[in-house]
Symmetry: C2
Subunit: 351 residues, 2 copies
């Protein structure tokens, strides 16, 4: 078991990286004072792990099972959770336990932010991507027809419990996608982790890999909770990823896969612009990403649709995009790129 | 023109109590940096004041007009604003200007809290109740079938502009309702204002009355933004009010009218319990409320429905209600009342 503390004053919390659900009951009781949680999951994850969680925590106040998938990350799922909580008679000391991947965590987190103007949420991520990225840091959201994650709130969890055993049932592509965010985190804030990822014992060292990613993210979030500055570094690769995901249609390319491609494209662009001072970095990243088994960008990608989606990114301000640019591994800086130059980023996508 | 500052560190803002919209352009520009706001109003208020606001602020990014009324304070209105903002291409520096009463302010404030995880909101209240209470303090919400304001967020405005001239078009009952919250605010935190309200020059001193209420609320909010303690004092009268409004059906009794009745009932109860140390206070409040022209509680009030609604109040914790109890004018304390004793409060309603 490894533990990471997210230092946010009176909203501080810990992230437990472990195998199994043993000890979840005590960790949860510290947060809830023993009140049974409302458990939110989806119809992929619930059949696999809901009974184990129920058994681990003893008593559950209510169970809410969402339809699985990014396509359901919208108002209907949000309302389903809010309705479920309120009809079950939650009060201000109640806790939502989100059991699942990034979609469940994001929607359940947002619902918890809104019910009675905010009740606690505990994240129990069951995908690699959710463990290393979305479950930590308090960003919650639903998608909107105009773009992904455009409706949301900052609402920190009170506890994150990452049970690595749940990754055994993960689809291989989902694991690859998670590794996309792992590579990003290493690139942005943990150069030694990059070396680990290039080694041949990644699988055996998975608990270390996850804990290191969480530690990097926790450190960034503690310094910039609401993304006024350094937290935007974590958006590396995401400008291009956002364009890819939207142009291909949500769900066709997993988020982490899009991030992996985005990292390569944005780093190549930064090198071509002379902003990246490590000339070997683009090829290094490219090799790392290919080694993960990331599927190629579909040949039928509509570049103009991708550019249009990038224009609507949350990170845009007026006619400029706020772009985290890699100077070298472990060192980013924020640049303002005129929106009309966004197509250049796509030109550097791996072919 | 009177100004009150709400001292909340980097979220501090000012409340301007004035007549007219003159100066709104400059005050708004300080907040927005000159970016045209998205204006949200409803179909009662828009025909009266939208063109005046448009003229005052120069340019408007987008106008969104909601159906008027408490019955529309729900998901549909929230989504209408969120959609309108996102389709209009807002970015993180955009501002929503909420023009209307408490419903518009609450829903537009919540939408602003959620769009891109939070953009600015400027409140331009056009009812007495919104001016003295709901526009200041950052509570935003929509209603839910289970109860009022159960889904929301804390999201402070960046500016509040209370134009007293807009009160000329207010329905008389809405003005009476606003006075219910004025009496509450005086009782809780401004004993001198109670004297003013008992005098015969209330109408002529309305700017002072509004500014004093805002100052009291601002002071309480600055000390307890998220209602961990003293802010709960402002819920005086609201436990009974909540039961009345829900049992009668939302919209049949204006919120401020219900609060006025709630104040009298809760103060009478406190006196009967020996918790209120000023034996003359219940009669004093009763006379003040009657003098406002508050309509009587309907004879067909379903007491058991009111009690059931009170059980589901946000202020409930397990089997206890956290009740702000009047010790004397200007001095409250929070008590825990077992839920089974809630009917006692209703027994003290004025007949």
């Amino acid at each position: 078991m490894r533990e990471v503390h997210v230092e946010l004053g009176d909203r501080a919390y810990r992230v437990v990286v472990t195998r199994g659900f043993e000890g979840l009951d005590d960790a949860l009781a510290e947060v809830t004072g023993g009140r049974p949680p409302v458990v939110v999951s989806d119809d992929n994850v619930a059949p696999l792990y809901l009974s184990a969680v129920r058994q681990a925590v003893g008593e559950v106040h209510q169970e809410i099972v969402l339809p699985a998938g990014e396509a359901h990350k919208g108002w209907a799922a949000l309302q389903q959770i809010v309705d479920g909580c309120l009809r079950a008679g939650v009060d201000r000391r109640s806790t939502v336990l989100a059991l699942g991947g990034g979609v469940v965590g994001d929607v359940a987190g947002l619902a918890a932010a809104l019910v009675l103007r905010g009740i606690r949420v505990v994240q129990v991520p069951t995908t690699l991507l959710a463990m290393v990225d979305s479950s930590v840091g308090g960003k919650t959201a639903i998608n909107h027809a105009v773009g992904k994650n455009l409706v949301g709130a900052f609402h920190q969890p009170s506890l994150v419990w990452a049970n690595l055993d749940t990754l055994h049932t993960l689809e291989p592509i989902e694991r690859v996608a998670g590794m996309g965010e792992v590579v990003k985190t290493a690139l942005v804030g943990d150069v030694e982790l990059l070396d680990v990822l290039e080694g041949d014992r990644v699988e055996a060292r998975l608990d270390e890999v996850v804990a290191r990613c969480v530690a990097t993210k926790a450190s960034v979030v503690a310094r910039d909770e609401r993304e006024g500055g350094i937290r935007a570094w974590l958006n590396a690769g995401h400008t291009v990823a956002h364009g890819l995901e939207t142009a291909l249609g949500h769900g066709r390319m997993p988020h982490g896969v899009a991030v992996a491609h985005g990292l390569v494209a944005e780093t190549r662009w930064a090198a071509a612009e002379g902003l990246c001072t490590d000339p070997g970095l683009p090829a290094r990243l490219d090799a790392l990403v290919r080694g993960l088994g990331v599927p190629q960008v579909p040949a039928d990608l509509d570049h103009s649709a991708a550019v249009a989606a990038m224009h609507l990114d949350k990170k845009a301000l007026d006619d400029m995009m706020v772009l985290p640019v890699v100077e070298r591994a472990g060192q980013m800086r924020l640049c303002r790129l005129p929106k009309e130059r966004l197509p250049e980023l796509l030109d550097h996508l791996p072919s």
